[in-house]
């Protein structure tokens, strides 16, 4: 190489210059807050007063003792149920669209569209669909004579999480579908044809040839869904504000309320750390599972 010494110096300079701002941003807005969060979780603090007092593990004890938090966490499992259904639908539509079909790109574009829509707009749009009096869904039910089914969807503690779970499915099914579709397109067509020649029907080909080839992506999608359901926030926050009577609180809406409504930053930090621990646990399990398949 020409003029080696100048390049060695240049390289050093460039590494420092190019990484300075990005690393500063990363440190300031991601790494430091994560560390600070751990610190705060051991403190009692209202968020603005200058003094914080040491609380030790008290915040964590409080998190595990408080029944409402775990009730709220229980609601996340309703979303998980809908999320698994969402995955199955995503895979189903990916299989449908992975064949020669007229208009398949138009179908793909429409089924994926909810994913890119503004979440706030989607939330209010469904407020309009599920409103008990004027909502289009209840109007539809009444016009088909199913009056007794036309309940107050957001007002019923039993129904509310399922309605929110459905809206989540409506918004995110396309994401799963697109990921599955990409995986299906990478399954070599020779092995699919070979199984057809061997006399396997469509169903057998899917079960014995196609699905075993995309197990990794199925796992990936399932783990994405699990993590997504742990972090459910916007929909209940915007649409129901956790109501009626806390029936649609989730772990994260509780966390945010604890910090910004009740000014209990120590406890909110402990809740955040608990959630992060859960996410990392899920990711760790994913790693283990994926490795098992890799062997």
């Amino acid at each position: 190489m020409v003029n080696n010494t100048s390049y060695v110096l240049q390289k050093r300079l460039l590494i420092i210059l190019f990484l300075l701002v990005p690393i500063a941003l990363l440190a300031l807005f991601s790494l430091y807050p994560a560390g600070y969060l751990v610190y705060l979780s051991f403190m009692t603090w209202d968020g603005f007063s200058p003094d914080k007092t040491w609380a030790g593990l008290e915040n964590y004890r409080e998190v595990f003792r408080t029944k409402e938090i775990w009730q709220a966490f229980g609601h996340n499992f309703v979303y998980l149920g809908w999320g698994i259904f969402q995955n199955a639908l995503g895979l189903f539509f990916a299989l449908l669209l992975n064949s020669r079909l007229r208009g398949r790109n138009v179908y793909r574009v429409i089924l994926f569209m909810p994913y890119i829509m503004n979440g706030v707009a989607v939330a209010y749009m469904f407020n309009y669909v599920f409103n008990s009096e004027y909502g289009s869904f209840n109007t539809l039910l009444r016009s088909t004579g199913l009056d007794q089914l036309a309940i107050s969807w957001f007002g019923s503690p039993k129904a509310v999480n399922h309605v929110l779970g459905f809206i989540t499915l409506w918004k995110f099914m396309g994401l799963n579908m697109v990921i599955y579709l990409a995986a299906l397109q990478s399954v070599p067509s020779e092995i699919v044809e070979a199984s057809r020649i061997d006399g396997a029907n469509r169903w057998q080909t899917i079960i014995h040839v196609i699905l075993p080839n995309i197990t990794k992506v199925i796992e990936l999608n399932l783990f994405l869904t699990i993590i997504g359901t742990l972090e459910i926030f916007d929909l209940p926050f915007i649409l129901t504000n956790g109501g009626p009577l806390g029936a649609s609180e989730t772990f994260l809406t509780k966390t945010i309320d604890t910090a910004f409504k009740f000014n209990n930053f120590g406890m909110a930090s402990a809740m955040s750390i608990t959630l992060i621990a859960a996410v990392i646990l899920v990711l760790g399990i994913q790693r283990l599972v994926t490795r098992r398949w890799g062997d």
């Binding site: 990005p22 007229r102 955040s272």
Partner: protein
């Protein structure tokens, strides 16, 4: 070809897909029907009725003035333009360094980006909030810009993957001619990363436009409203005036849908790349 003949199997497929499309399109369709109705018309007719006049844009113009949507669009646009430009500049720089050079702390830097990706951003806001406040960025447009500036792992992987396909011989040839490393970045690497940049620009634009949490938490001032927060405000004041709300929701929803329809290739590329990594 099989398609020439009627196939019940194919017909069922289309039928199922039509049902799915109907479920997706139904809620926005209802909005479109009612956004063009006057107050009286809305209260007197069924939500499923077509409006008298599809050219009745009264609700839309009324929403723009009452919800200050013009200002919201402008604020959103400013955040998107500044954050996306900064994000692309920083992202390509990091990728160039990590993709082309060996140095002691390289593993650590890479590890930091990966570690951060394990922590869901929304969970650390309790602590980030204090940082933003102490930097005096609270209630300034810079809060959103700065928080969207950071490179994500997803973005880094997309860039690194593209960078691997740019032959190192190009760099070396330029060095032979005495080009500086910065010049190589600017005239070779950056332009050749354009396809990846296009994907990232689109994905990032959609992300920022749809973000509710950062502006809600860090920019509560009226004059700093973005599209998401202005819709939230408008709804808390006028959630019962449905014909107005329909128009408002549509005006927030439509711009990003249009961008998506025009640039779907990049959107899908970004999603698939990000997920499979």
């Amino acid at each position: 070809m099989k398609t020439a003949r009627f196939s019940p199997y194919l017909a069922v497929k289309h039928l199922i897909l039509w049902v799915a499309v109907a479920v997706i399109v139904f809620p926005p369709y209802i909005l479109v029907l009612n956004a063009f109705k006057s107050k009286e018309e809305f209260s007197q007719t069924s939500v499923f009725k077509l409006p008298h006049d599809f050219l009745n844009f009264e609700n839309f113009s009324s929403v723009i003035t009452r919800a200050h949507l013009d200002r919201a669009y402008l604020n959103t646009l400013i955040i998107i333009v500044v954050a996306v430009i900064g994000n692309v500049a920083l992202g390509t720089m990091v990728a160039y360094i990590l993709g082309r050079f060996e140095f002691k702390l390289k593993k650590l830097v890479m590890g930091a980006y990966i570690a951060v990706s394990f922590i869901p951003t929304i969970t650390t806001q309790v602590a980030t909030f204090t940082v933003v406040k102490n930097l005096h960025l609270y209630n300034t447009i810079w809060a959103a810009i700065v928080l969207h500036l950071s490179t994500s792992v997803l973005q880094l992987f997309i860039y690194l993957q593209f960078l691997r396909n740019i032959p190192r011989e190009l760099d070396e040839a330029a060095m032979m001619e005495g080009a500086s490393l910065f010049r190589i970045y600017r005239t070779i690497i950056f332009p050749l990363l354009t396809p990846a940049t296009a994907t990232i620009v689109i994905i990032k634009t959609i992300d920022i436009y749809n973000d509710m949490f950062i502006p809600y938490l860090y920019m509560p001032a009226q004059k700093l409203m973005v599209v998401s927060t202005s819709l939230m405000n408008f709804s808390s004041e006028r959630s019962t005036e449905w014909e107005l709300m329909s128009a408002a929701i549509l005006m927030i929803m439509v711009p990003i849908v249009v961008i998506y329809l025009f640039f779907q290739k990049y959107v899908f590329a970004g999603i698939v790349n990000g997920a499979v990594k």
